[in-house]
Symmetry: C2
Subunit: 167 residues, 2 copies
């Protein structure tokens, strides 16, 4: 409103306000991407956390809940509830280990594999929509740059930091 009048508290130059660097854009676009992906898998009754866990069980069947907790960087009691959900939907199966009956071995069910296929299709559509501004060459270039950053920052492939406590 008073664009022509100097505000009374402008005692000095106002600092740059809107962050313009790549770090902020990565955080902003990353959160946006996570939100859009969540929308795309919601109709499957899954959260992004569920999807990540489903993928890990698919990739390394037979692992224990404690091992999964270790990989994700979360407390074991959280894995209990995450697996409860997936088991309740019939996507994952707990099998008592024969070698050490304290453990469960986690496996995908047939329906779990089918659901994971639907997730993959949703992920592909998501990728395409998110990168709509870029042509094929630019997408490849972006992927390469992101892979370098992820490797240098020691990010575990496939593990989203969102599993860990906020921060």
């Amino acid at each position: 409103m008073n664009s022509s009048r100097q505000p009374a508290d402008a005692t000095g130059p106002v600092p740059a306000t809107a962050p313009r660097g790549a770090a902020f854009l990565l955080a902003q676009i990353g959160a946006h991407a996570a939100g859009r992906f969540a929308e795309r898998v919601a109709h499957l009754g899954l959260t992004p956390a569920d999807v990540g866990l489903l993928r890990m069980v698919a990739g390394q069947p037979g692992r224990s809940q404690r091992a999964l907790a270790e990989d994700l960087g979360v407390v074991p009691s959280r894995v209990v509830k995450l697996i409860d959900v997936l088991e309740g939907k019939g996507l994952v199966e707990r099998r008592r280990s024969e070698e050490d009956r304290r453990n469960y071995e986690l496996h995908l069910t047939a329906e779990g594999r089918s659901t994971l296929g639907a997730v993959s299709r949703a992920a592909a559509a998501h990728e395409d929509a998110l990168l709509a501004a870029l042509d094929s060459e630019q997408r490849g270039h972006l992927l390469g740059l992101l892979q370098r950053i992820a490797a240098e920052q020691d990010l575990t492939p496939g593990v989203h930091p969102g599993y860990r406590a906020r921060g």
Copy 2:
């Protein structure tokens, strides 16, 4: 352990498990970046949300809490508590509007401007650490690609989606 033995449930080819696309990397690196930035401003007693709000007040002094809530996409009652924190630290000031005494006009204090300077230095160090894998030319290229995506996805400059409810 049993890498030579076929698991009993391998009834078919295991689906691709670790997401390898740019969309996932953006979400993963973005969450990582947000976490590292949170660590860097923690010694100032600020969360990333506090920083974002501080920047908005600096950029557009005199706005009302309701206007801020609108910009951030959050409910007004949340802005109350966010501003309570910043006011309690002496960084932001509530001034009753003379024109409409229902409103507050929000302004930075001198200490708020000083703190924002410290935030900018932290942000610069953060940017440099996050992009350590890239040389100057690559950083410029990345920035350009990210800016295209952000514009096409209609992301408000400077507003992190993390303010809004999870999703």
